[in-house]
Protein backbone atom coordinates (compact mmCIF):
# COMPACT_ATOMS: atom_id res chain seq x y z
CA UNK A 1 0.00 0.00 0.00
CA UNK A 2 1.44 3.32 -1.02
CA UNK A 3 1.88 5.78 1.79
CA UNK A 4 3.12 9.33 1.89
CA UNK A 5 4.40 11.04 4.98
CA UNK A 6 4.57 14.77 5.24
CA UNK A 7 6.56 16.68 7.77
CA UNK A 8 4.63 19.74 8.82
CA UNK A 9 5.95 22.74 10.65
CA UNK A 10 4.65 22.10 14.15
CA UNK A 11 4.88 25.73 15.14
CA UNK A 12 2.64 26.71 12.24
CA UNK A 13 0.14 23.85 12.18
CA UNK A 14 -0.34 23.01 15.87
CA UNK A 15 -1.89 26.42 16.68
CA UNK A 16 -4.46 25.81 13.93
CA UNK A 17 -5.72 22.62 15.48
CA UNK A 18 -7.98 24.22 18.05
CA UNK A 19 -9.93 26.12 15.38
CA UNK A 20 -10.11 23.06 13.14
CA UNK A 21 -11.41 20.99 16.07
CA UNK A 22 -13.90 23.72 16.94
CA UNK A 23 -15.10 23.77 13.32
CA UNK A 24 -15.48 19.99 13.32
CA UNK A 25 -17.53 20.35 16.49
CA UNK A 26 -19.67 22.95 14.78
CA UNK A 27 -20.34 20.47 11.98
CA UNK A 28 -21.99 18.07 14.42
CA UNK A 29 -25.57 17.71 13.24
CA UNK A 30 -24.97 20.06 10.31
CA UNK A 31 -24.04 19.27 6.73
CA UNK A 32 -21.11 21.27 5.43
CA UNK A 33 -22.66 21.85 2.01
CA UNK A 34 -26.25 22.95 1.47
CA UNK A 35 -28.25 20.17 -0.11
CA UNK A 36 -31.40 20.62 -2.11
CA UNK A 37 -33.50 17.61 -1.32
CA UNK A 38 -36.94 19.14 -1.26
CA UNK A 39 -38.45 16.84 -3.83
CA UNK A 40 -37.35 13.69 -2.07
CA UNK A 41 -39.77 11.63 -0.06
CA UNK A 42 -39.52 12.94 3.56
CA UNK A 43 -38.54 9.56 4.94
CA UNK A 44 -35.87 9.09 2.29
CA UNK A 45 -34.67 12.65 2.87
CA UNK A 46 -34.28 12.03 6.61
CA UNK A 47 -32.35 8.80 6.02
CA UNK A 48 -30.21 10.50 3.38
CA UNK A 49 -29.33 13.38 5.70
CA UNK A 50 -28.61 11.08 8.61
CA UNK A 51 -26.27 8.93 6.55
CA UNK A 52 -24.47 11.98 5.16
CA UNK A 53 -24.01 13.33 8.68
CA UNK A 54 -22.65 9.99 9.89
CA UNK A 55 -20.19 9.89 7.00
CA UNK A 56 -19.15 13.49 7.61
CA UNK A 57 -18.53 12.73 11.29
CA UNK A 58 -16.49 9.62 10.45
CA UNK A 59 -14.40 11.54 7.91
CA UNK A 60 -13.71 14.38 10.33
CA UNK A 61 -12.71 11.91 13.05
CA UNK A 62 -10.22 10.27 10.70
CA UNK A 63 -8.86 13.68 9.77
CA UNK A 64 -8.33 14.69 13.40
CA UNK A 65 -6.77 11.29 14.12
CA UNK A 66 -3.84 12.27 11.87
CA UNK A 67 -2.72 14.70 14.55
CA UNK A 68 -1.53 12.04 16.95
CA UNK A 69 1.54 11.51 19.11
CA UNK A 70 3.74 11.17 16.00
CA UNK A 71 2.57 14.55 14.78
CA UNK A 72 3.22 16.24 18.11
CA UNK A 73 6.64 14.63 18.47
CA UNK A 74 7.97 15.30 14.98
CA UNK A 75 5.33 17.06 12.91
CA UNK A 76 4.75 14.03 10.68
CA UNK A 77 1.35 13.04 9.30
CA UNK A 78 0.72 10.13 6.96
CA UNK A 79 -1.71 9.46 4.15
CA UNK A 80 -2.45 6.20 2.41
CA UNK A 81 -5.31 4.59 0.55
CA UNK A 82 -6.98 3.80 3.86
CA UNK A 83 -7.45 7.36 5.03
CA UNK A 84 -6.97 9.50 1.91
CA UNK A 85 -10.61 9.64 0.83
CA UNK A 86 -11.83 10.46 4.32
CA UNK A 87 -9.19 13.15 4.79
CA UNK A 88 -9.99 14.67 1.40
CA UNK A 89 -13.70 14.86 2.23
CA UNK A 90 -13.07 16.13 5.76
CA UNK A 91 -10.86 18.92 4.41
CA UNK A 92 -13.66 19.90 2.03
CA UNK A 93 -16.23 19.88 4.85
CA UNK A 94 -14.09 21.94 7.22
CA UNK A 95 -13.20 24.44 4.48
CA UNK A 96 -16.87 24.88 3.58
CA UNK A 97 -17.78 25.48 7.22
CA UNK A 98 -14.85 27.86 7.75
CA UNK A 99 -15.97 29.81 4.68
CA UNK A 100 -19.48 30.19 6.07
CA UNK A 101 -18.67 30.76 9.70
CA UNK A 102 -15.32 32.50 9.91
CA UNK A 103 -14.56 33.92 6.47
CA UNK A 104 -17.98 35.14 5.38
CA UNK A 105 -16.78 38.72 5.27
CA UNK A 106 -14.16 38.04 2.62
CA UNK A 107 -14.73 38.07 -1.13
CA UNK A 108 -14.44 34.83 -3.07
CA UNK A 109 -11.78 36.33 -5.34
CA UNK A 110 -9.65 37.43 -2.42
CA UNK A 111 -9.91 34.01 -0.80
CA UNK A 112 -9.11 32.21 -4.03
CA UNK A 113 -6.08 34.33 -4.86
CA UNK A 114 -4.97 34.72 -1.26
CA UNK A 115 -4.59 38.45 -1.83
CA UNK A 116 -5.62 39.51 1.64
CA UNK A 117 -4.29 42.34 3.75
CA UNK A 118 -3.36 40.38 6.84
CA UNK A 119 -3.08 43.54 8.92
CA UNK A 120 -6.72 44.32 8.28
CA UNK A 121 -7.93 40.94 9.48
CA UNK A 122 -8.68 40.06 13.07
CA UNK A 123 -6.44 37.37 14.60
CA UNK A 124 -9.39 35.00 14.47
CA UNK A 125 -9.94 35.58 10.73
CA UNK A 126 -6.21 35.30 10.07
CA UNK A 127 -6.16 31.94 11.79
CA UNK A 128 -9.27 30.79 9.91
CA UNK A 129 -7.64 31.78 6.63
CA UNK A 130 -4.49 29.86 7.53
CA UNK A 131 -6.62 26.79 8.29
CA UNK A 132 -8.43 27.26 4.97
CA UNK A 133 -5.15 27.37 3.06
CA UNK A 134 -3.62 24.51 5.05
CA UNK A 135 -6.57 22.23 4.33
CA UNK A 136 -6.37 23.03 0.60
CA UNK A 137 -2.66 22.17 0.68
CA UNK A 138 -3.42 18.81 2.29
CA UNK A 139 -6.00 18.11 -0.41
CA UNK A 140 -3.57 19.03 -3.18
CA UNK A 141 -0.88 16.80 -1.67
CA UNK A 142 -3.20 13.81 -1.53
CA UNK A 143 -4.55 14.39 -5.03
CA UNK A 144 -1.05 14.77 -6.46
CA UNK A 145 0.42 11.69 -4.78
CA UNK A 146 -2.49 9.30 -4.38
CA UNK A 147 -4.59 10.18 -7.42
CA UNK A 148 -4.13 6.80 -9.13
CA UNK A 149 -4.81 4.82 -5.96
CA UNK A 150 -7.97 6.82 -5.27
CA UNK A 151 -9.28 6.27 -8.78
CA UNK A 152 -8.70 2.54 -8.52
CA UNK A 153 -10.44 2.49 -5.13
Amino acid sequence: MRRIEVKLNLQVVAPLLDLMKETVGDLTGRLAAPQHLQDLDPELRAGWREELLQGQNDDCSRFLAMFDREFFSGGVVGFDEANAESVLRACAAIRLRLRDRELAGLADDALESGSLEAAQLTPRVQKAFMCYVFLATVQELIIRHLDAALLEG
Binding site: L31, A33, H36, W48, E51, L96, L111, I143, G153
Partner: protein
Protein backbone atom coordinates in the same frame (compact mmCIF):
# COMPACT_ATOMS: atom_id res chain seq x y z
CA UNK B 1 -17.28 1.83 -11.41
CA UNK B 2 -20.05 1.83 -8.87
CA UNK B 3 -22.07 5.03 -8.59
CA UNK B 4 -21.54 4.98 -4.85
CA UNK B 5 -18.18 5.01 -3.17
CA UNK B 6 -17.55 4.72 0.52
CA UNK B 7 -21.15 4.25 1.49
CA UNK B 8 -24.34 3.33 -0.23
CA UNK B 9 -27.30 5.58 -0.83
CA UNK B 10 -30.23 4.96 1.47
CA UNK B 11 -32.55 2.56 -0.24
CA UNK B 12 -35.61 4.40 -1.56
CA UNK B 13 -37.81 1.73 -0.05
CA UNK B 14 -40.40 4.11 1.28
CA UNK B 15 -41.42 5.28 -2.17
CA UNK B 16 -44.42 3.70 -3.90
CA UNK B 17 -43.38 1.44 -6.73
CA UNK B 18 -45.13 3.43 -9.43
CA UNK B 19 -45.05 7.17 -9.16
CA UNK B 20 -45.61 8.96 -12.46
CA UNK B 21 -43.90 12.17 -11.33
CA UNK B 22 -40.64 10.28 -10.84
CA UNK B 23 -40.76 8.33 -14.08
CA UNK B 24 -38.71 9.29 -17.12
CA UNK B 25 -35.17 10.51 -17.19
CA UNK B 26 -33.49 12.67 -14.58
CA UNK B 27 -30.42 14.84 -14.75
CA UNK B 28 -27.71 15.04 -12.12
CA UNK B 29 -26.63 18.67 -12.08
CA UNK B 30 -23.61 19.93 -10.13
CA UNK B 31 -23.73 23.56 -9.02
CA UNK B 32 -20.77 25.85 -8.52
CA UNK B 33 -19.39 26.57 -5.09
CA UNK B 34 -16.56 28.98 -4.39
CA UNK B 35 -14.74 26.71 -1.95
CA UNK B 36 -13.90 23.32 -3.41
CA UNK B 37 -10.65 23.16 -5.37
CA UNK B 38 -10.77 22.56 -9.12
CA UNK B 39 -8.43 19.58 -8.75
CA UNK B 40 -10.73 18.14 -6.07
CA UNK B 41 -13.82 18.50 -8.26
CA UNK B 42 -12.00 16.82 -11.17
CA UNK B 43 -10.97 13.95 -8.90
CA UNK B 44 -14.54 13.52 -7.60
CA UNK B 45 -15.96 13.44 -11.13
CA UNK B 46 -13.40 10.84 -12.18
CA UNK B 47 -13.95 8.80 -9.00
CA UNK B 48 -17.74 8.88 -9.02
CA UNK B 49 -18.55 8.72 -12.74
CA UNK B 50 -15.43 7.06 -14.11
CA UNK B 51 -14.80 10.01 -16.42
CA UNK B 52 -11.44 10.31 -18.10
CA UNK B 53 -9.37 13.36 -17.19
CA UNK B 54 -10.44 15.60 -20.13
CA UNK B 55 -14.14 14.85 -19.58
CA UNK B 56 -13.90 15.47 -15.85
CA UNK B 57 -12.02 18.71 -16.48
CA UNK B 58 -14.58 19.86 -19.05
CA UNK B 59 -17.44 19.35 -16.58
CA UNK B 60 -15.48 21.06 -13.81
CA UNK B 61 -14.85 24.10 -16.04
CA UNK B 62 -18.52 24.17 -17.02
CA UNK B 63 -19.46 24.27 -13.34
CA UNK B 64 -16.86 26.94 -12.66
CA UNK B 65 -17.68 29.19 -15.62
CA UNK B 66 -21.40 28.60 -16.15
CA UNK B 67 -22.43 27.78 -12.60
CA UNK B 68 -23.68 24.27 -13.36
CA UNK B 69 -23.01 21.18 -15.38
CA UNK B 70 -25.18 18.19 -16.24
CA UNK B 71 -22.94 15.30 -15.33
CA UNK B 72 -25.30 12.37 -15.84
CA UNK B 73 -28.77 11.62 -17.19
CA UNK B 74 -30.77 8.47 -16.58
CA UNK B 75 -33.32 6.75 -14.40
CA UNK B 76 -34.31 8.34 -11.13
CA UNK B 77 -33.00 5.71 -8.77
CA UNK B 78 -29.50 5.73 -10.20
CA UNK B 79 -29.52 9.52 -10.44
CA UNK B 80 -30.38 9.66 -6.73
CA UNK B 81 -27.46 7.37 -5.95
CA UNK B 82 -25.11 9.64 -7.87
CA UNK B 83 -26.42 12.76 -6.13
CA UNK B 84 -26.02 11.07 -2.76
CA UNK B 85 -22.41 10.19 -3.57
CA UNK B 86 -21.69 13.75 -4.72
CA UNK B 87 -23.17 14.99 -1.44
CA UNK B 88 -20.82 12.67 0.43
CA UNK B 89 -18.00 14.53 -1.31
CA UNK B 90 -19.59 17.88 -0.35
CA UNK B 91 -20.40 18.99 -3.86
CA UNK B 92 -23.71 20.75 -4.38
CA UNK B 93 -25.70 18.51 -6.67
CA UNK B 94 -29.36 18.45 -7.57
CA UNK B 95 -31.77 16.23 -9.46
CA UNK B 96 -33.84 17.79 -12.22
CA UNK B 97 -36.22 16.12 -14.66
CA UNK B 98 -34.89 15.80 -18.18
CA UNK B 99 -37.44 17.88 -20.07
CA UNK B 100 -36.22 16.59 -23.41
CA UNK B 101 -37.74 13.18 -22.72
Amino acid sequence: MSPTTARTAPAPASRPETEPALAGLWRVVVLNDPVNLMSYVVLVFRRVFGFDEPTARRHMLEVHEQGRSIVWTGVREKAEAYVFTLHQWHLTAILVPDEAH
